[in-house]
Structures are given as C-alpha cells and as structure tokens.
C-alpha cells in the first residue's frame, strides 16, 4: 500500500449537453494519461455533460450500470487505469443527481452524489437536481479515499466527515465559476483564492492528500477558472494546473508522506468524533426544541 502512484488531474472544457462528444474526449485523455504513467485520472464535476444544464438534465442523465452505452466504455477503460468521472446520475426512481464515480478494475467502486446544491446567486442546481444524502469514504487499491463535489467542499463538515471515516485521499471535483476580480489576490479570482486557501487548510488539518480538480472553459458567459491542485498532507502545493486553460497534470503521490505528517501533527489520532457527535446531538436537539 505504501507504493508511490501517480494521480492525473484532467482540467477539461466539456461540451455542454453533448455526452457522446465528452465521452470520446475522456477516452482520448485516458490514453494520453496512460502514456504519462498515470494510475488514477480525475475529471472535474459533471465532466461528461457540462455545467449550466438547466432543462438538459434529463437529456444527459446516465445510469452507472455496466450495460449503459456511456458507462460501458468507461468501465472498460478502467481496467487499466482508475478513473473519477463527473456526470448526472439517474436513479431507479427516475430522479437526477450531480455525481462523481470512482471506477477501477472494470467496476464502479463508489458513487458520490453531491449533497449541497448551490441555489443562490448564479447557481440554480436545486431547481433541476436532487441532493445526495451523505459522505462516505471508500477503499481503493491506493488506500482509502473520499469524494466531494464543489459546493460540498465549501461546507466545513464535509472534509471532516471524510477524514474521520478514514479517507487519506480527498478528491474534490468542481465546476467552479470565476468571479470577483479585485486587486487583493494575484492573477486569481476571489473564489479561486478562497478555494486554494481552504483546500490547503483541509489537507494540513486532516494531514491527508487533497486534490481539487476544476474545469475550465466558458458557458453562458461564465468562465471556469481551472487551477486544479494537488496538496500534500503538510499543506504544500505539489502541483497546480494553469488558470483558464485545459491541462492534464500528473503528480506523484508518496503515501509515506502521510506517515511523516501524522507523526509531526497527530491531529487525526487525537480527534474525538464521539464527542463531536454528542455535542451535535445537544445542539440539534436544542435547535428543534422550544428554546428556538
């Protein structure tokens, strides 16, 4: 398990609502990544479909089953390389979710449904999509991992839950629009600066690897900033993709760094999830009671 491996961050510009085209592009990038020695290739949020879908949601939704014509070639490709792909998932009851799936060895290992659907400002996900119901870490051949999608990561509890569930590798997939062009952060939009800051913080405090893979390109006049990053368990930037440009960035991951980081800062060892649970029970029971 302590063998080094290579993560590829695929910073793509999906074609809005054109699943076939995007699938083709995924397969091309998978081949390219294999040439670079990538073991795990991570695509951004909704990489198979694009972001500002609105009423296209039912037109592009996929059942992540081995027979599905979009899923099948991805599963095939995952026999040689592990993948994280972003899509709109349709469930058995014909409901739609923003989802990212971890594929490996020809199987769907884990699907995370986005829990926090931003529905404010320029975001309108809650109008078109259903929300996921939780976060769980899962085992992979690289170690235990956890996934979260864009707005999920802006909620503090998300990385915490994944961390206490044993995730050593936090995989964050985003379609993050670029906005806020003040003069206080060099070359990055305000929200890009915030995401960079908290991704480093999460990795440092959870002494875990964090990967934030964000898309680029433009939809409906909205630019997506890219800047995908890999952060070490000590909060250092191991690799960062450029802003606003497509890129495939490989980064070598040394699981041994987890061991070093956790000797230095044994925060996870000393974490008290039961205490947190008790405190949350107290707080939430008060909130639902008469005192409110």
């Amino acid at each position: 398990m302590d063998k080094k491996f290579t993560v590829g961050m695929a910073q793509t510009f999906p074609r809005l609502g054109d699943v076939e085209f995007n699938l083709h592009r995924h397969l091309e990038l998978i081949r390219e990544a294999q040439g670079l020695g990538v073991d795990l290739l991570v695509f951004p949020e909704l990489s198979l479909v694009g972001y500002t879908l609105r009423d296209l949601v039912p037109h592009v939704a996929v059942r992540p089953s081995p027979e599905h014509p979009i899923w099948k070639p991805l599963l095939e490709a995952s026999r040689d390389i592990a993948l994280v792909v972003g899509f709109v998932e349709e469930d058995e009851r014909r409901q739609f979710f923003v989802a990212s799936a971890f594929l490996d060895g020809g199987e769907t290992v884990h699907v995370h449904r986005k829990v926090y659907l931003p529905t404010y400002g320029l975001f309108e996900e809650g109008r078109y999509l259903g929300a996921g119901s939780g976060f769980s870490a899962f085992d992979t051949r690289f170690g235990r991992a956890g996934m979260a999608i864009c707005e999920d990561v802006w909620h503090l509890s998300t990385p915490y839950l994944l961390g206490v569930d044993g995730a050593d590798y936090l995989i964050f997939c985003s379609a993050s629009p670029a906005y806020g062009v003040g003069t206080d952060q060099e070359g990055a939009t305000a929200n890009a600066a915030t995401v960079t800051q908290f991704t480093k913080t999460y990795a440092s405090l959870l002494t875990s690897y964090a990967f934030h893979v964000n898309r680029v390109g433009v939809e409906e006049g909205i630019s997506f900033w890219g800047g995908s990053m890999a952060i070490s368990p000590r909060g250092q930037v191991l690799a960062q993709a450029p802003y606003f440009e497509e890129a495939l960035v490989p980064v070598e991951v040394d699981p041994g760094l987890l061991r070093v980081a956790r000797q230095r800062l044994p925060l996870l060892r000393d974490e008290k999830p039961l205490m947190v649970q008790n405190e949350l029970s107290r707080v939430t029971s008060k909130e639902s009671g008469d005192e409110r």
């Binding site: 510009f13 074609r15 809005l16 609502g17 054109d18 500002t52 879908l53 609105r54 009423d55 296209l56 670029a178 062009v181 003040g182 003069t183 952060q185 060099e186 070359g187 990055a188 939009t189 390109g217 433009v218 939809e219 409906e220 006049g221 630019s223 802003y243 606003f244």
Partner: protein
Amino acid sequence: MNVEALLLQDVPLVRRMLVSALRAELGRFGFKKAVLGLSGGLDSSLAAYLAAEAFGAENVLAVMMPYRTSSPDSSRDAMEVIQRLGLRHATIEITDMVEPLFAKIPNMGSRRQGNAMARARMIILFDQSEAWGGLVIGTSNKTELLLGYGTIFGDMASAVNPLGDLYKTQVRNLAREMGVPDAILAKPPSADLWPGQTDEGEMGLTYAEVDKVLCLLVDERLAMGEVVQAGFSEKFVRQVWRMVQRSQYKRLPPIILKVSGRTAGWEFRMPRDWGT
C-alpha cells in the same frame, strides 16, 4: 468606506478572462471572426482591442457608421484604432438611411432621431455579420446597461457583449492597460447623436459618481439608506435607483404572455450554449 477601491480590478486578469471567454463564446458556434461598430469612443475602441486580441486583427471588421452631424474627431479616433490594430474596416454612412424617415415624420426630436440612428446602425451591423461571417460584438458597458442609457434593439443589440460587466471607470482602466490611444481615453464620453451631446450632460450626472453608487447598490448589495450614509446625497441615490428600476425591461427579452404548460423562459429553460 473606500468606494474607489471597490471599483479597482486586477486588470490583467480581467483582460485574460474577457479575451478567452470572447474566443470561447464565438468559437463554440463555429465563428472565428467578429464585427463591431467603431465610433472612436472609449467603449467601442476597447471592444475592438479585445476582439483583435481574441481573434486576430485580420478577423475583426470595424464598421464606422457616421451621420452627417457626427463629429470629425470621432472618425479620426476610430481610424487611429483601426490603423494601430490593423483591423479590417468599412465606412457605411447612415445619413441616407435615416433622413427619409426623418422627412416622413416631422418633429421627431433628437431623442427619437437618436434611437432611429442607433437602430439603423444595428441593421448594418447584423447585415455585415452575415456577409463577413462573424458575430456582432456588443459595446454597452455596465453603467449604461444598469442606467438604461442605450437604445433597445439599437446599440444594446449584439451576440456577445464583453463590456457589460464593467463599469465605465473599469472600462477606462482596462482600455489604458490595453493601449487605447490617449486622445480616446481623455475625451468626454458621448453617444455623438447630435453635436455637443455628452453622456454626462444628458443624464445630469458624472460617471465617477454614478459608478460608485451603482457599485454600492448592485455589487455590494447595500440598501439606499446605507449608500447615503456612505456619503452620497439621498436625491442622487434615489435618482440612480429609479433609473435602474425603470430600465429593467431593457435588460430582458420581451414578455411572453403565458397560456401553455411549458413556456419559453419559464418551464422551457434550455441553456443558450446548448450542445456547444
């Protein structure tokens, strides 16, 4: 509160975002060329610089559309931009187009005549768009759009508008960064629809002041009372907000009267960039 600082931007970042987005939004529909009306004013000059950077000067058609009373300075400044960038260009006078209409309808007044001229230019640009094989680049800035200082279906018409989220103050800063000639940066903004017209004279306000108030009301989401407390006269703040309110219709597509269960704009909500 330092309101001036709120209007400051990371100008190279804005330039990078606008150029790449302009390229992407035209490219997705198969276009690599652009056309725009170039008056020699600040907004259209900046739009020309952005388009030239996005598509290459040889792929940008700048159309000058003077009326017989248009200021000769405007044409001179427009030619300066064309020559500096190496844009393709054409001059199509609108005098012969609009004067028969003015003759038919006496006492139109300068406002109606100005609107007719703006719409005549729109007809030319969209026709050139088809002939040239490039989309029309808009030149309305955020200040004008919010105040409604523009002609609906006239100069407000375009396929993609790179300036619509920049206040006039910010347009000026980006134009300076991109090397727009000093003479254009220095002259008072004018629609040049009649001799001596200036935006600030016609609206009875200055861009420097109104940009600050709009920034506080719109971007910073302050209430009118809070803007007054920040040091602006209540009368002025109310005037600005009323202008924004009264021009809301100009920033939206026309109202469709609903009868069916799936109406364009309500239940039928496809993205504009669908499939691209």
